[in-house]
Symmetry: C2
Subunit: 267 residues, 2 copies
């Protein structure tokens, strides 16, 4: 068996998230494992750096799998793509060092959330549905950006957690809002993410943007550790997995990688 | 009855083109007429400036309809959107002068065709499927641009026509290739378009880009009036209806309108 590292792009709309379900729903992991099974040779389970929820997209998810195949990396990539639906593309296949673990070796993950503020005409609402969250009112972007900055650091993030997990302490390396034409883009990098964490962060920032909360309220909200104090989870369709890091966090390097991936696909 | 002029955005993927079909297939016209019928008051048929084929998108199709309603324009717009699927958005409703005809008053139509040239990694192939035509080899863009220029002017365009029509003479006002990051965008404006005309033009330009034809061959091909001399019809998914003009052609004005519509939705 040879351990390979896959880099994957996918449109999350038609999937019940990444993780294979005992109940047989269509998932990203399940569909890629089926494609792997179409190629000769046994395989192990496909493991990803992050398990995205239903509707969440990926520009460059990283996963590993053991497969008994002699196909060279690039041939394996083409063979897999030939067996995958158009919603998933294998961007890259490399033979990984033995023992490489996409999830456990990952030092940070980076996500993007896209909001689009519509003014008079909702141009894009049809063609960009399931790609950005539409917002129909003016937002105080400066206040949102100040609030986003307060999320950076190492702390208990229970306030943004949907599910119980043993430890809810995470280190947020980056949480910054960027204006991009009519879009607002939230870039978030952390050593790990709690379930729905980015979507709860965006919901909270929207409350700030609408004046329901101020940036000064953020510390109290984080301290509360009470999920009901933070904003609602925004829908998954604006969320993109952008990068899995396997070196120490480096803002300049990560920004360069992310910018290229985002601009080449999302403009 | 009041004549209203609608501006429409739609994603053409889920439709068998614009035109209502006797056979009951789902079409843009059919779905919008159903939404109109959900609102009180009789109506006439919905008529568009251009009848797009299956899979072709619109950033701003113009259509007119007579409807017996007292709803103010903006209320009518919101009511229609409430009854439409997410793939269609009414961007604008205005009460039109009596006798306004979306099709017959239209002085020019403008389309965009998007090609994306993939180099090493096919980033975007999953998320931009059904939005751009992927091309997997290097193209001679300069030659393509020179060839595109030769299509401008008034002449018989039988070589690009899929169906018989009485007159095949059209005036092409604009046919220009633009580089836009990894994309190539063909902008075409004309007083009218033959069936599949843009798609045949793009197919022919791709032959030029790949070196199978040279820009100097274009005059002979146009003269031939023989469809088999031109390139294949490329797929519809890269094609967007961008503008219906109701004044004399003016390149500067049209470019301004088109650029804003394209950049606000497609980046």
């Amino acid at each position: 068996m040879r351990r390979v590292r896959l880099t994957l792009e996918y449109d999350g709309i038609g999937f019940h998230g990444w993780q294979r379900q005992a109940t047989g729903e269509r998932t990203v992991q399940g569909v890629i494992e089926e494609a792997l099974d179409r190629l000769p040779g046994k395989r192990g389970p496909l493991c990803a750096a992050g398990r995205t929820d239903a509707g969440v997209h990926a520009l460059a998810m990283v996963a590993h799998v053991d497969k008994a195949t002699d196909l060279p990396d690039e041939r394996l990539r083409l063979a897999l793509n030939a067996h995958l639906p158009r919603e998933i593309t294998v961007l890259d296949v490399v033979t990984a060092p033995d023992g490489f673990e996409a999830q456990f070796d990952c030092t940070y993950r980076r996500y993007l959330y896209r909001l689009k503020v519509y003014r008079d005409q909702p141009a894009g609402l049809a063609l960009e549905r399931d790609r950005v969250l539409p917002v129909f009112r003016r937002l105080d972007v400066e206040a949102m950006d100040m609030a986003a900055e307060t999320f950076v650091g190492a702390r208990d993030l229970s306030v943004f957690a949907t599910q119980e997990t043993r430890s809810r302490t995470r280190t947020v390396y980056l949480c910054a809002l960027e204006r991009c034409r009519e879009e607002l883009r939230l870039h978030v990098a952390a050593d790990g993410f709690l379930r729905n964490m980015v979507r709860a962060m965006v919901g909270t920032l929207l409350w700030v943007g609408k004046g329901r909360l101020s940036p000064d309220d953020m510390h109290g909200i984080l301290e509360s550790r009470d999920r009901t104090c933070a904003g609602n989870n925004v829908p998954p369709q604006g969320l993109y997995f952008v990068e899995a890091g396997y070196r120490d966090w480096d803002r300049v390097r990560s920004d360069t990688v992310a910018r290229e991936r985002i601009s080449s696909v999302l403009g």
